[in-house]
Amino acid sequence: MKNIHASGHVRGQSVFLDDLPVHEGTLYAAVFGSPVAHGRITGADLERARALPGVVAVFSHEDIPGKNQIGGNIRDEPLLAERELHYIGQPVFLIVAEDEWTARRARLLAGLQYEALPAITDVEEAWGREQFLFPPRTFRLGSVDEAWEHCVYHFEGEAETGAQEHLYLEPQASYAFPAPHGGMKICSSAQGPAEVQHVAARVLGLPVHRIEVEATQLGGAFGGKEGQATAWACLAALAAWRLQRPVKLVLPRQDDMRMTGKRLPCRARFRIGLSRALKILTYEATFLLDGGAAAGLSPGILERALFHATNSYYIPNVRATAFCCRTNLPPNTAFRGFGAPQAMFALEAAIARAAYELGIPARRIQEANLLKEGDEFPYGQRARQAHARQCWARAEADFDIRKKEKEVEAFNHQNASTKKGLAMMPVCFGISFTKTSMNQASALLHIYQDGSVGLSSGAVEMGQGVSTKLAQLAAMALGVQAERIRVETTDTARVANSSPTAASSGADLNGKAVQHACAQLRRRLLETAASILRAPLAEVDLHAEQVWRNGRPTALSWEKLAPEALQRRVNLSAQGYYATPLICFDREKEKGHPFAYYVYGTAAVTMAVDCIRGTYATEEVCIIHDFGDSLNPDIDQGQVEGGVVQGIGWMTSEEVGCSPDGRLLADSLSTYKIPDIYAAPDVIDCRPLGAEGPGMAALRSKAVGEPPLMYGIAAYFALIQAIRAFNPHYRPGFRAPMTPEKVLMALYQDENAAAL
């Protein structure tokens, strides 16, 4: 089934936040951000800004009626700066005017006096000074040091990945307006409306029930609108509350890029030991994650980095430690993969280092260590329905990897100025929020008297197709066509306390809740039908929009059944609820069973490098992906393609960078380069593994959002291969992204140069 929103999208009729009809008297806000990365506020001059015709108000932290605090579990993030400034772009004032241009012009007139303080923008420096956002954590299995002694091969090294800007095409947006009975309605482009509601209530000093938050549909999010939607929603709400007028705040792209955090950059040191048979006996990694100026979602990100430190491999002795460092950069945050990509890159770097030193293909080490059924992860869970080896073997066979390797070799032999490289990447990604309590969801279904159905859940549609999947699930469960189901916007007044739509789990959790609600409705309707037909319940069935008796259609259609049920005072609404069973995790011991199941896959990526210019192209991406029993192959295929291209972008052209004084170097689309249609791979050949999905996934269709991003990691190692084919002196430094600059410098690096 195609995306239910497709027709609205192609006709330009889908309603994103900035497209909502505007209420009369709407005002527009602009955020004044800190001009320094670290400083102490000594004074403010807002008179000139206030005096500009059209400016209605300028707010500071003093205007906040409740708590000036938008932090999550760790309360370290003010909505508006009070005394200290912690990063460039940190919101300090909110300017509200009759139109956007006036608000932005007034922003140029606002003055802030401050005393600049030394800024930390380097994660190593933060680490050296023990600037941690929260305490470090360590996962352990076996005995690393003891095993080290038994290894035949020992390698140590470093790996580094950079920040990644989400670049959802729709910037952060919010629109708040006073609601009846002293309430406040906030429309927010948020992945987690309930979180926005909760924090906005705190900021306004109101009970949570006075705030209603609605998300229509998001123009992409990728984790960037999970923790990070809150500030803009709260700011709009603050202004709307104080002025009792509608206030809209849509971040201009440059504000969005300057003020919001990215994927956490990560520096890793590793130590890896192998047996003669290339078994990885021991692996030790220390991750320095750059959390930026506030904790935000970083505790969960750090945790997931540790959960996936061994990716798709079984390693008997592991010690993985992660520090989350505080720097004077915008608070970094969730991004597809949530810490796992950073950790997986480090392990692949360790494997590549070992392979280069041993003079063998990395593929041999990868293959020798893949997970098998029952293997234990460093956090105690055991791999069940482990498809790592199956995916790998299928990839090798289906895509004839050996032949491809030979072709690459032959090509490199024949071509002096173009070189190719091929790398493989296995992925194993755990599905569930690692914070067990978040693994719950509810849904609310109404059948109306004409038989049409309204479906609300906690899931936010952001392009991942969750609405389509929920409509499919409901239609199947009720026995009607999907067209009968209208998937409503996500609203806290209809579905409360929902977890954010994140961790790839939106369709699983909400899908199960929808199924639960549908089961109730279905039972009531079957009972009604049985009584109308005067038939025993066991003889009636409901499917294809029809009531059936003993396998034969009756005259009772869905459209007749619904009003009849209403006449008979049958409750046509149901709330469904689901909490993932079995999962648990003990943070004291760092052991448990945190994941409902795992998604597996293997990718092979071929890159071609122009050795004259240092430019490159992704020629081919071949993937075997473990979809389970895909509920919607069109949508799932799209998720894989989009994810892998984002991963390739992260490994190649997407570079944020920052100056020593804390300014992001790439802060607009003209400097930050996501893949365009030409940079995208020529071919993405993704085939389903075909293994049965787990019962914990809705209709055994596995979660699909995040895992494919990590296939992109192979692009980095394929580039390294190609460069090595040209320049035998090249010493890889395992620092992603591998921009055309780094590639050219590597192609012409001489023997004595530092690793690159």
Binding site: S7, P265, G465, L665, S670
Partner: protein, 490 residues
């Protein structure tokens, strides 16, 4: 009064001339199909069609409405995605929906406009053209595979030649709404305005630089609108030279038949410069007068003997293009002068030309380094060598000494090695967001070699050049400026 037809409706407005068209469409007209993705021309979410009446026919091109000054819409037909809607999905819309090429849907209206522009385009269709139609549309969700399939499907359903898919045909076949029929008549009735040049007021060309930099400020002023000035909108041959109007969009120049006859390969530069919609808007005058050290047209025309024609209250004057650039972002032009165009001395038949550009992303990106070379070759030696380079000095640079060195030389690896040594002395790159100084030096060397490998494949081998290059690189490492290091970790 600014007058234009927006979809099916005639608009007369006195909103500021420099108001972004996108703001007007979304805020004033409440047509919310076109999206605000970036406001700086880079994403294509705001694409609209701009139709001009040319020789009695409407010619439609995609433009980014976020950078289009409202006044530049005067006398045009502007079509948003809403203006393309029929009762049923158009074949373009169908292709995008069928191929699941709309995920979050935010880029989708722009995609629909871009693919409709493909249907309306003058050029014969091909798979490459179909993909290229989306060169100005960023999508963060799909990874582009489904978009490519949709684009190819659209092209496959259309006749290759334009005359077989003219507007009446497209209407009949359900690709366009019927109202397109009446547009030429409507547009023809809008009075042309050719305002007098007002010295001292800001000059606005296509707006692709100015509206990024200062849209807010410009809205309060009444800028000179150059796109409407007839005298700077043409290309004409005149004896041994050719006049190229400063108001011409980049696309019109690169695709121009006359110019391509004299400069073989000019058209092939296009995919490396901006995107289809931005090339339809950005003008020659803007590209040169913006004084960016990496302006692609400046680099291209420096490879030819070219003179800049300026006009203003104190009359006309002209000067060589290389002398137009004085220092970083400074040009030999008073605020009251405008750039009327270029006078290109027509190259002879023996003239060879090559343009090279590398940026972080190959397409839709500003150069880290760009360079062009023009030279006459008689089968033995080179003459009238003009080598230009951008991104390696404060201005678009003509490498006079390197060019002079190459004069009269035969092509050989060692000549190129020595030329590179000289070139490294002529340049002074700095480290910035587009690359470190060391990188730019190395890159220019490589692109310099690339010119010759491309132009003289039978005279040179990459391996030998490479060896020469390594030698030269070592020798000249002492020239490497080590600017304040920038850290690239974020």
């Amino acid at each position: 009064m600014i007058e234009f037809v927006l979809n099916r409706q005639l608009i007369c407005t006195d909103k500021p001339a420099a108001m972004p068209l996108l703001d007007f469409i979304r805020r004033e007209q409440r047509l919310t199909g076109a999206k605000v993705g970036c406001g700086e021309g880079d994403c294509g979410a705001c694409l609209v069609l701009e139709g001009r009446l040319e020789e009695g026919r409407m010619q439609y091109r995609p433009i980014v409405s976020c950078l289009t000054p409202l006044a530049n819409a005067h006398g045009r037909h502007i079509v948003t995605v809403e203006g393309l809607n029929l009762r049923h999905l158009s074949p373009v819309q169908e292709a995008v929906a069928e191929h699941s090429a709309a995920q979050c849907g935010f880029c989708t209206p722009g995609v629909i406009v871009a693919l409709t522009a493909l249907c309306l385009s003058e050029a014969p269709l091909s798979p490459e053209k179909a993909i290229a139609a989306l060169d100005g549309n960023l999508c963060r969700c799909t990874g582009y595979q489904s978009l490519k399939k949709a684009a190819l499907a659209v092209a496959a359903r259309l006749p290759v030649e334009r005359q077989n898919r003219a507007i009446p045909w497209l209407i009949e076949q359900g690709w366009l709404p019927a109202y397109f029929d009446a547009i030429p008549g409507q547009v023809a009735q809008i009075p042309r305005c050719s305002p007098a040049f007002a010295p001292g007021r800001p000059i606005l060309g296509g707006g692709t630089d100015l509206l990024v930099q200062q849209a807010g400020q410009l809205m309060a002023e009444a800028p000179n609108l150059l796109c409407e000035r007839w005298e700077i909108g043409g290309i004409c041959e005149d004896g041994d030279s050719c006049f190229i109007g400063g108001g011409l969009p980049i696309a019109a120049i690169l695709e121009n038949r006359t110019l391509n006859r004299h400069i073989p390969g000019l058209g092939r530069c296009a995919p490396l410069i901006a995107s289809t919609p931005v090339r339809n808007m950005g003008t020659l005058g803007g590209n040169l007068a913006n004084a960016s050290p990496i302006a692609d047209l400046a680099i291209i025309f420096l490879a030819f003997e070219t003179r800049v024609l300026l006009n203003g209250p104190s009359g006309r004057r002209e000067l060589p293009l290389e002398d137009f650039y004085l220092a970083y972002k400074q040009i030999d032009k008073s605020p009251s002068e405008y750039l009327e165009g270029l006078r290109l001395r027509l190259p002879g038949a023996r003239r060879l030309f090559s343009f090279e550009k590398v940026s972080k992303r190959t397409h839709l990106d500003i150069a880290s380094v760009n360079t062009a070379i023009g030279l006459d070759f008689d089968g033995e030696t080179m003459s009238r060598v003009r080598l230009s380079a951008g991104g390696v000095s404060p201005v678009p640079l003509l490498l006079r000494r390197t060019g002079a060195f190459l004069e009269g030389k035969m092509i050989s690896e060692s000549v190129l090695g020595r030329a590179n040594a000289l070139m490294q002395e002529e340049i002074s790159p700095i480290s910035d967001i587009r690359g470190s100084a060391d990188y730019k030096r190395l890159l220019l060397r490589q692109l310099f070699f690339a010119h010759f490998l491309k132009l003289f494949p039978e005279h040179l081998s990459f391996e030998n050049i490479h060896n020469e290059g390594l030698l030269a690189h070592e020798k000249h490492s002492r020239f490497r400026a080590r600017e304040g290091a920038i850290r690239l970790s974020g």
